[in-house]
């Protein structure tokens, strides 16, 4: 037998090691559509429990929107279930191209190419565009998929301190001898909810002849006045050379991602990006529904406006209750707890109170930076947030952390 007892024992020990380290991830079974109110079976076999979801990426509340569901049914009926092909053989339908065109128009770029996910877009884009004559200079907290994509590319992988523009400038000065320089950043950083200084980055890029790459997965659809993303918020529409983003969060949340930007760079992806060339075209049902999502968000800002108001309400409520929050104005609102066990204990108690919010700790965030990350949605009504606020306050009081800052919490619970 090729899968020997030694091999099995090795992997069993590895998995036990993960469990002993307290970082074993378990999945909770949701027995309802994605929404503000969900039915959850947890632990496995337990009766389902109705809880308020405070940790999804369903920022615009479009994951189960009736018009989106209707469009997916129509797409299924008119274009079928699967493509059974990559895009360049026989996997491109008219609706794939129309979705790319809508994304281009919405993001105000030159062209767009769809990928199976934004993970795939990030894995493929760098290698398709850059080589060993180039240098990629990334914020140190960029998403793991960008790190992977950079590693797959022969360009020099450099980095700068999180949000530190002086450090970025030094790096740009150091590499003036490279063929191309590219500044790489997330638009909104998913663990902290803070925002890249894209205006300053574009200025530096112009000064030091560099391109700018932004992964805007946690802002496309709602950041900026029309929800176009971080580049709209920071006043640099049309100045970002490469945007990657996802259809798997605010834009309906099913799956899919894209590279959008300078038309030559997009075309290079179409010709050379390996995850694009070697994975199936997005399924018609998802593409049809995503087209509808784009129609909705381009016709009204109602949902991003509601999200903005919800976010303000939530941040204000938590602040007044005395929680230690990461500063910011995005719907990602981390409640800082610093101690990993405290984040797990509070998450469990919140679940008992009917609130689904997850604790994050090392290695997902830096050591000593454990937190509960909450994410606000336009699917939430104020009543949801009031109920959640009452539960957070009750649990916060139990652990006596209300009104306490970093040092006091660490003093009580350690790191």
């Amino acid at each position: 037998m090729a899968y020997s007892n030694d091999a099995r024992k090795f992997y069993q020990d590895e998995l036990n090691g993960i469990k002993e380290a307290g970082v074993f991830k378990e999945e909770r079974y949701i027995q309802s559509p994605q929404a503000a109110d969900i039915s959850v079976e947890y632990p496995e076999g337990a009766p389902t429990k109705e809880v308020i979801n405070m940790c999804s990426n369903n920022y615009l509340g479009l994951s189960s929107h009736p018009e989106v569901i209707k469009a997916s049914h129509e797409g299924l009926d008119s274009r079928g279930f699967g493509m059974s092909s990559v895009r360049f053989i026989c996997g491109t339908q008219d609706i794939h191209r129309s979705l790319e065109e809508k994304l281009t128009k919405f993001l105000e770029t030159e062209d767009t190419i769809l990928f199976a996910s934004c993970m795939d877009a990030n894995a493929g884009v760098f290698e398709a565009i850059f080589d060993d004559r180039d240098v990629l200079i990334a914020d140190r907290l960029v998403h793991a998929s960008i790190v992977d994509g950079m590693r797959l590319c022969k360009a020099l992988n450099e980095s700068f301190k999180h949000l530190n523009m002086d450090h970025l400038e030094k790096k740009l000065q150091t590499y003036q001898d490279a063929r191309f320089r590219c500044i790489v950043t997330d638009g909104v950083f998913s663990m902290d909810g803070d925002t890249a200084k894209l205006d300053e980055m574009v200025a530096l890029a112009e000064k030091y002849d560099a391109m700018v790459f932004v992964d805007d997965s946690h802002s496309t659809g709602f950041l900026g006045k029309h929800g176009k993303g971080t580049h709209e918020l920071k006043g640099v529409l049309g100045k970002i050379d490469i945007i990657t983003t996802t259809l798997g969060k605010a834009l309906g949340g099913a799956s899919g991602g894209c590279v959008s930007g300078r038309k030559e760079l997009v075309e290079m992806c179409r010709q050379r990006a390996r995850p694009y060339l070697f994975s199936n075209a997005m399924p018609p049902v998802v593409v049809a529904a995503s087209n509808k999502v784009m129609d909705i968000i381009m016709s009204t800002t109602e949902r991003r406006d509601k999200l903005e108001n919800n976010t303000k309400f939530w941040r204000k409520g938590l602040t007044e209750a005395g929680f230690d929050l990461r500063e910011g104005d995005t719907p990602i609102v981390p409640i800082m707890l610093y101690n990993a066990k405290l984040s797990q204990d509070m998450s469990r108690d919140l679940y008992d109170e009917g609130i689904y919010a997850i604790g994050f700790f090392f290695p997902v965030v830096a050591k000593g930076q454990a937190r509960i990350r909450t994410q606000i949605s336009a699917a939430h009504d104020i009543e949801h947030l009031e109920k959640a606020l009452a539960a957070f306050t009750k649990v916060g009081r139990k652990y006596d952390i209300l009104g306490k800052g970093k040092n006091e919490i660490i003093e009580m619970y350690g790191l």
């Binding site: 140190r140 020099l156 992988n157 450099e158 301190k161 530190n164």
Partner: protein, 82 residues
């Protein structure tokens, strides 16, 4: 302490610590196992050393273990500077 170790320590402090960081690091402080430097940002350090000392460090020598303290990093550099 020698000059090379001081140069590397100064670089590490400037490159990886934030101004508000309270921790102090020395020649034997763990850098990677402590989380100050991760495998992604370690590339900056390797590139700095290669440019500064005009050497090329193969990837199999620039391991997280070999790069865990300033003193050990200096040892790796000396292997290639002769």
């Amino acid at each position: 302490m020698d000059e090379m170790e001081q140069v590397i320590l100064d670089y590490v402090i400037d490159e990886y610590l934030e101004e508000e960081d309270e921790e102090e690091i020395g020649f034997d402080s763990p850098l990677i196992s402590s989380g100050i430097v991760d495998s992604f940002s370690m590339v900056s350090l390797k590139t700095f050393l290669e440019r500064k000392y005009n050497i090329s460090i193969p990837d199999d020598k620039a391991t997280p273990e070999a790069f865990d303290t300033v003193r050990n990093i200096a040892k790796v550099v000396r292997e290639f500077t002769g």
